[in-house]
């Protein structure tokens, strides 16, 4: 009987690494500067209506020790002593901050799922990704290979990723997106200034540019598709020496393969520049009634 019991016990895996339960809280001001450094795994960042900073969740022991403290106007939390020889992907933490807090999240492997924020958000990571819903004032996001997805009327948005895909829905104001090979897919935008750059990725834009605003889209080998309101007024500079230009708008001049075209549609007003070395440029009229205006269009079959 004993050998059978022993065999039965050995057939159930015993956890080799203990989990730490985390529950830390402190009062902070409504616009506190909060720095979150070196967390691992997935972090859920939530803006709420209380003037307090709360961290709850679980960390494996090899994630290290959590430090947490500071003052009501400047708080810090993070991990020390993380075992970097192993990938700590099982960590799950929820961090609650006042809605108008100014939050900075930095970590080599951390991914962020954020919502309810109205202040500033900075997110710098090497391998992580970002999913954000809501309307922070400003967002700065840099990741080497992760995807970045933002849905909401952020007033000032800067995104950099090398290989990740950037998907933006309903952005406003001032926008700068840069990738190396990742696609840039934007839907439901209404901007004063947008600068979209990629080397080999594609750019798909669906939205409006404010009168006097600018949209600058550039890619070396990808295609550029601009879905614009049918009544838009804009001055255009379109450059596609290899792939050519096609348009559903009536362009004065002659769009076609190669060359650069400078012309205008409507009564001018906005300034749109699109350049691609090997790709094609397409100007498409948005439908009068769009069942899903915020959904980004896409060249590679990702359209709504």
């Amino acid at each position: 009987m004993r050998p059978a019991v022993l065999l039965l016990a050995l057939s159930f895996p015993v956890p080799l690494v203990a989990q730490q339960r985390i529950d830390r809280r402190m009062a902070v001001s409504s616009t506190a500067a909060i720095r979150i450094n070196d967390l691992v795994g997935m972090v859920r960042l939530v803006g709420w209506d209380r003037d307090s900073l709360v961290v709850v969740g679980e960390l494996p022991a090899r994630a290290g020790q959590l430090y947490f403290g500071g003052s009501p106007d400047a708080a810090k939390l993070g991990l020390k002593g993380t075992d970097t020889s192993s990938v700590v992907s099982s960590a799950t933490l929820e961090v609650r901050v006042p809605r108008r807090a100014r939050v900075s999240v930095r970590g080599a492997t951390v991914s962020l799922d954020a919502g309810g924020l109205e202040g500033n958000l900075e997110f710098i990571t090497t391998a992580g990704r970002l999913h954000l819903e809501g309307a922070p004032y400003t967002v700065t996001a840099e990741t080497l290979d992760g995807n970045v997805e933002v849905a909401g009327p952020v007033a000032s948005l800067r995104v950099r990723t090398a290989g990740g895909t950037v998907v933006l829905r309903g952005v406003r104001g001032d926008l700068s997106v840069t990738t190396v090979s990742g696609a840039i897919l934007i839907g439901g935008a209404r901007v004063a200034r947008a600068r979209l750059e990629t080397v080999s990725g594609e750019i798909a834009w669906k939205g409006a540019i404010e009168r006097g605003g600018t949209l600058d889209a550039q890619t070396h080998s990808g295609d550029i598709e601009l879905r614009l309101p049918p009544a838009i007024g804009a001055d255009l500079e379109l450059s596609a020496p290899a792939g050519g230009i096609s348009s559903e708008f009536t362009l004065r001049g002659k769009p076609g393969a190669g060359g650069t075209l400078r012309t205008s549609i409507g009564d001018g007003g906005a300034a749109i520049t699109a350049r691609t070395f090997r790709g094609r440029i397409s100007l498409v009229k948005q439908p009068e009634v769009d069942p899903n205006p915020a959904a980004p269009g896409g060249i590679s079959g990702t359209s709504q």
Binding site: T31, S71, A74, E122, G173
Partner: protein, 176 residues
């Protein structure tokens, strides 16, 4: 760089000489970065804005008429670049703070990060963005409230209230 030499570099840069513009950059970047840093309150944003300022200056340089010193012209351009970038955010911050939260005029004193001494630059970086903008423009850069109102899109009265608030918060942070 001596003023006459700078003037020559300006003319060369106006003619498209990028090396001359590089010399102007080296001569002025510290001053421009200082105003960008104090207005933005964040080093990364300040570096971005500093870049934007010099790129804009290159584009606008052919229109520079030498009616003022180049540094003065560049400084004004820097303020416009930063404010244009932040106008939406600051206007909202200024409206919300002054109208809805007057008690923040007496908010708890700013505290530094643990272990970091508080100087005026550190204290300014921790001000709410709108109050910081008004303080920097008025008390450091010498703009009047009418000019600040025009640059930021707020009312003169709001500018004055924000300046009062900024000075009070800074005093509490420094007077320890």
């Amino acid at each position: 760089m001596e003023p006459d030499a700078l003037s020559l570099e300006v003319r060369r840069a106006q003619a498209g000489d990028a090396d001359a513009f590089a010399a102007l950059y080296r001569a002025h970047v510290g001053r421009i970065h200082a105003v960008c840093l104090r207005l933005e309150g964040d080093p990364a944003a300040a570096e971005e804005r500093t870049q934007d300022v010099f790129v804009r200056a290159w584009d606008r340089l052919p229109g520079f008429r030498h009616e003022s010193a180049f540094g003065t012209w560049l400084h004004r351009l820097a303020v416009n670049v930063v404010l244009a970038h932040r106008r939406t955010q600051w206007r909202r911050d200024l409206r919300v703070t002054v109208v809805e939260e007057p008690e923040l005029l007496e908010s708890p004193r700013l505290s530094p990060d643990p272990g970091i001494g508080m100087d005026l630059d550190s204290a300014m970086a921790k001000l709410p963005p709108g109050a910081r903008a008004v303080f920097v423009l008025h008390d450091i850069e010498g703009y009047g409230h009418a000019e600040i109102a025009e640059l930021t899109g707020i009312a003169e009265g709001t500018s004055k209230a924000q300046l009062f608030r900024a000075r009070r918060l800074l005093r509490k942070a420094l007077d320890r």
